[in-house]
């Protein structure tokens, strides 16, 4: 191996701070461009649904938000595990930076779901398995954030919330299946969306929105982790020498 790459160079907050700053625009700008495109295709190009009319268009926000709310929890738990095993401070900071975005998406998913449910099912809320597990996911996010916020020592906060995230991620499938089973015991789902072939424009809109949300998540998480680094390392020399801090 002639070319030795130092894989760990950017696992230090000092070096990652700069890298994250450079990376943010590369994710923020595409997100800013893709959101209007996705909305445009979703609201104007995609045809009216045969069964659901115009109301279905909320799914272009609802579905990406739901997917990301679940996916972010996995990423968060992954970072938490990394931080707990290798004791890398940055991983824990990334987990902390992702949590609010995950909670936001879980909330948006529930909110838009309620708005969609009213015209479709005739109720703002039904105790459907998917709705219930999304709500519990929001609770898990809030627990993570609450634990992180109530411990003053950042090292302990990181490790404690990391452990909680891992326990939560082990529990997520159990919760999901138990909720599903509980639901089938009580009553069947009111409406099931089974394999209706989606129109191409709908697929495009959905995909664009998903990518946009994804890019947004990365940009926001990176921007947030920069603030966390500054907060935690506030008393170090390299932070004091930063251009944006000095001025």
């Amino acid at each position: 191996m002639r070319l030795a790459i130092n894989w760990f160079k950017y696992s230090a907050p000092t070096t990652f701070y700069g890298l994250a700053g450079k990376m943010v625009p590369y994710f923020a700008w595409p997100a800013a461009i893709l959101f209007p495109i996705g909305f445009y295709i979703g609201f104007f190009v995609a045809p009216t649904d045969a069964v659901q009319g115009e109301a279905y268009r909320i799914m272009f926000i609802h579905v990406p938000a739901s997917i990301l709310s679940m996916f972010i929890y996995l990423i968060l738990a992954g970072y938490a595990a990394l931080g707990l095993i290798f004791k890398t401070r940055l991983s824990a900071m990334m987990a902390a930076a992702l949590a609010p975005t995950g909670a936001l998406f879980a909330f948006v998913s529930l909110w838009t779901g309620a708005l969609w449910g009213k015209p479709m099912w005739g109720a703002w809320w039904v105790w459907d398995a998917r709705l219930t597990s999304e709500l519990i996911l929001l609770f898990l996010y809030l627990g993570f954030i609450a634990l992180q916020a109530s411990i003053d020592d950042p090292r302990r906060a990181d490790r404690a919330s990391a452990l909680l995230a891992i326990v939560g991620s082990v529990n997520v499938p159990i919760i999901y299946y138990s909720v599903q089973w509980w639901n089938t015991l009580h009553q069947g789902s009111t409406i099931k969306f089974t394999g209706t072939s989606m129109h191409v424009a709908m697929q495009q809109a959905m995909f664009t929105m998903l990518v946009a949300c994804w890019l947004y998540t990365i940009a926001v998480a990176l921007a947030r982790v920069r603030s966390i680094i500054l907060e935690r390392e506030g008393n170090t020399q390299w932070v004091r020498e930063l251009k944006e801090v000095r001025s």
């Binding site: 519990i136 609770f139 898990l140 809030l142 627990g143 609450a146 634990l147 109530s150 411990i151 090292r155 302990r156 490790r159 404690a160 452990l163 909680l164 326990v167 939560g168 082990v170 529990n171 159990i174 919760i175 138990s178 909720v179 089973w181 509980w182 015991l185």
Partner: protein
């Protein structure tokens, strides 16, 4: 120093915790009284129709048990943390996981078991059938230890934090949902004429799964909190 076997250690910790609790009996009774009160509030809130009460009995009893066990969680490690016993336990050459398991078992015997024993009486208040009461007791017997075990992780993580009591509920309650679902589901199954065995088997599976992992995880959480 006398070397203790793992189970000797377990028995020692359980005995010690029970002895300590017996010296301060009021704490144990408070949880029990809380449980009885919460359950008794429901008929006052929703009305005394036996039809409806019978239907909600299992859910009410389970939710009340969940809340009662949350209430006593903050006590699991707090006293030992305050007087420094916990530190000594962690320094001891014996397995911390086993000691945590001992504390969990003692916690369950003090906060879970009394609920299980009083549950049939409350079940009768809700006009439950004898079969349903029997299943309820078995389900509580299988489920309440799991609540203590998952709760131990939360209690260990929030050790010594301000507002620890509320925080621990926030962390632990979502994780306890499967137990609630299958615990209440078992009674529901009996009421609708189905066998409760599948629900009870799943509860037993949770119990075994939690028995293997949670003492270790709670011990790790204690190490994080005590650094």
């Amino acid at each position: 120093m006398k070397r203790l076997s793992l189970f000797g250690l377990l028995a020692l910790v359980i005995r010690r915790d029970l002895l300590l609790a017996m010296r301060r009996r009021a704490d144990v009774l408070t949880t029990l009284i809380f449980f009885v009160m919460v359950v008794s509030l429901f008929p006052l809130g929703v009305g005394p129709e036996p039809e409806m009460l019978r239907k909600m009995a299992s859910g009410v009893l389970w939710v009340a048990a969940l809340l009662a066990s949350m209430l006593s969680l903050s006590r699991m490690f707090a006293a030992d943390h305050q007087d420094g016993t916990l530190e000594q336990m962690m320094l001891a050459p014996q397995s911390l996981t086993m000691m945590v398991l001992g504390k969990i078992v003692a916690h369950w015997m003090l906060s879970g078991l009394p609920l299980v024993l009083i549950a049939p009486v409350l079940g009768l208040q809700f006009d439950m059938s004898a079969g349903a009461v029997g299943v309820l007791v078995i389900a509580l017997l299988l489920g309440t230890p799991v609540l203590s075990m998952i709760g131990a992780i939360g209690a260990a993580l929030t050790l010594g934090l301000r507002g620890g009591g509320v925080l621990v509920s926030l962390l632990v309650l979502p994780l306890c949902i499967p137990v609630l679902i299958f615990g209440a589901g078992a009674v529901e199954a009996v009421n609708s004429g189905m066998p409760a065995t599948s629900n009870l088997s799943l509860l037993a599976a949770f119990l075994l799964f939690a028995l293997v992992f949670t003492p270790f995880v709670a011990a790790q959480a204690l190490r994080i909190s005590m650094e």
